[in-house]
Subunit: 405 residues, 2 copies
């Protein structure tokens, strides 16, 4: 098995930064060799409204996987899957993921179940059951709010419904680690948050929430969990980040790639019950969650460390992208207006182009160490000390499983 090698399977666009184009550069900057399998070959992302190129056929994907296998090139330490355009291709990738998981139980698989956003599916509905069947293969999943709802058939409208959805993901689908970012901060959700991260009521809607949940009990002993005297299924952490106005593509793809890059199971979150035989700094994953966390494990976990870093860096890249888009001539930063966009498609195109991630210009952010300090909720949103990324550290949501809604 190669050290620090990621197999990334997602979309390719010639221009701009979504899918593999948003993932490869950050992963490479952080020291990973990245094998790139392109599920589509497009001119640009679909948000532009028109594009050229084509989807990769399932036959072609299988031909690539087959050749990689016979050439002994299928040995990543990590797997990253993102946008896959249809159930047929997804099934081919599922078979591959099963093979990789079988051949390497320590494989770290970050599965981003890219299906839709804000209430709308943008893939065919027959991918849903395939993604559900793939969840047990994953180490970390990074669905958005709508994808959590879709995977669990649960409308997220209250704390109990959120607990129900996480329970389904952890117990029915055996997902060890979940990271959900860019969650709109509805009042019921804001009111449930730990006081230390809850934004002032007046600015709730100006924030997005990020939640992580790591299963406490290993899959095999999930029935015994009450014997610990704990009613907690998972460790839940959360943090808010200021909302940046406008729609930017590729943000989730960047976030997922960074989470995968920064996730180092053996570093700060050893499993007391199963010490690693030969720990290396980066590649001794232990996908089975620890069975009896002591308090010191609760404040930060390998997942929260990875997600805090990724959240901080993604936010900073987005801030730079926003600043850049604001600096463009007016014709390149036209606001969203569906009616005008319909009459004049180039409006939308120019807006999209002006909002492509400033990824290459953020190599310092990607490679840097964010500065740890307490952040207030106001005033700091658009301040950027040159070259300094503010660490947005996730905090433990102690009462998540027990508090009253």
């Amino acid at each position: 098995m190669s050290q620090r090698r990621v197999l990334s399977i997602q979309s390719h666009v010639a221009f701009g930064y979504v899918g593999g184009k948003a993932a490869a550069f950050p992963l490479q900057c952080l020291g990973y060799d990245v094998d790139l399998v392109n599920t589509v070959n497009f001119s640009n992302h679909s948000g532009y409204g028109r594009l050229g190129g084509r989807k990769t056929s399932t036959e072609e994907l299988e031909s690539i996987f087959q050749a990689m296998e016979s050439n002994e090139l299928l040995d990543p330490s990590r797997l990253l899957t993102g946008y896959i355009p249809n159930a047929d291709a997804l099934n081919a990738i599922k078979k591959l993921a099963e093979k990789l998981r079988k051949q390497n139980p320590n494989l770290i698989y970050l599965l981003d179940p890219v299906m839709g956003d804000a209430g709308k599916l943008y893939v065919s509905a027959d991918v849903i059951p395939v993604y559900q069947s793939m969840l047990p293969l994953s180490t970390v999943i990074t669905p958005n709010w709508f994808e959590v709802e879709t995977l669990t058939s649960t409308q997220l409208t209250s704390l109990p419904s959120l607990r129900h959805a996480l329970t389904i993901l952890h117990t029915q689908y055996h997902v060890p680690h979940i990271a959900i970012s860019s969650i709109p901060l509805k009042p019921w959700l804001a009111q449930s948050l730990p006081a230390s991260i809850r934004p002032p009521e007046a600015s709730e809607s100006a924030h997005l929430l990020c939640i992580t949940s790591s299963l406490i009990h290993s899959k095999s002993d999930s029935d015994d969990r009450h014997e610990n005297g704990s009613s907690e299924l998972s460790l839940v952490h959360a943090q808010c980040v200021p909302l940046i106005a406008g729609y930017f593509s590729g943000v989730g793809d960047l976030f997922s790639a960074l989470v995968l890059a920064h996730y180092h199971p053996s570093q700060s979150f050893p499993s007391p019950s199963s010490p690693s035989p030969s720990p290396t700094p980066y590649e001794n994953p232990n996908p089975t969650p620890h069975s009896e966390p002591t308090h010191s494990y609760k404040d930060t976990t390998p997942l929260t460390t990875a997600v805090s870093l990724s959240l901080s860096k993604t936010h900073q890249v987005l801030l730079r992208t926003f600043s850049h888009s604001e600096s463009l001539p007016e014709s390149e930063r036209l606001g969203t207006d569906d009616e005008k966009d319909g009459n004049e498609p180039i409006r939308k195109v120019r807006r999209m182009k002006g909002r492509e991630l400033r990824l290459v210009q953020s190599i310092d952010v990607i490679r840097g160490e964010p500065k740890r300090q307490k952040l207030g909720h106001d005033g700091d949103e658009n301040e950027e000390e040159e070259g300094v990324v503010q660490m947005r550290e996730l905090v433990r949501w102690d009462e998540f499983w027990s508090q009253k809604p």
Copy 2:
């Protein structure tokens, strides 16, 4: 026009580093946004002997270019073309290059006419006339020795034949800048070199030569060149680098990408006759060569600066790759043996895999500033001061056009 944006059109491989995979990361690390159009989508490079995936059809390439054009995404400041599998696709790319050149006379176009190596074509012969017809569009070309022979229909066997070939490229095909690397140091060539860079006779075969040639006269006044009292058609520079044993793929692609990244016409080689109206550090190309160089221009030119940096960095990446391949278990570093390879294809596959460029691990080399110091020809080949890249500076070959063979 976007600042620092490269449109790169070449091959894509899922695993390893050739074509776009060898070019994109270095260009991005050096601050360029890179638009990536894939001329093939393969599992790995063809040197492995077997591969999966397919070539991109010309129809698909045209669909991508068409969408990019209508979405106003065809505005690179630089163009890089590499491996293009057939004349049909090459014609589509020629049309694109013509359009880009017309729309931006300052476009910096690095054309790598990838056709073959060591006496063998690995593309269909009908690409040759298409490449010849594209040469006048280029700013810099980076053919290898065999490609120079192919483009000029000239066997390179003597200094006069080399002068003849460069004359054809500069005057018949109007190429302003030529950089030829990895030239086997035949005795006739070694004997012609300036004394300062000529390796000791005993170690000639342990070196490769790099030559650059920049046209002195602008295209329009090439007929007047003798009026200057100069018999020189171009400024020629050269340097030797130690040969590293074994065949490594993607080296030329990396070199070309670095040359493009480091080529900054307006920085140190201003054209006295046409001062730039608004010089910016990186993007004020002046592809028309200067007409009357003073002596100070001769020692270093924008091309020699770019090529010296690229040669130094490529050599260092190759040294690391070689060291890495030597550190592998014996089964992964089997020497070339055509008979054994034929009986047991996995031998070749493993050798190729073990020799993939250590690109991601060389981010310090790619982004760093090589150390300027005199290099001897012996003893220093495999020494690498941690993090320090030795600058291999090209030197002026003063007598190139006048010396007796």
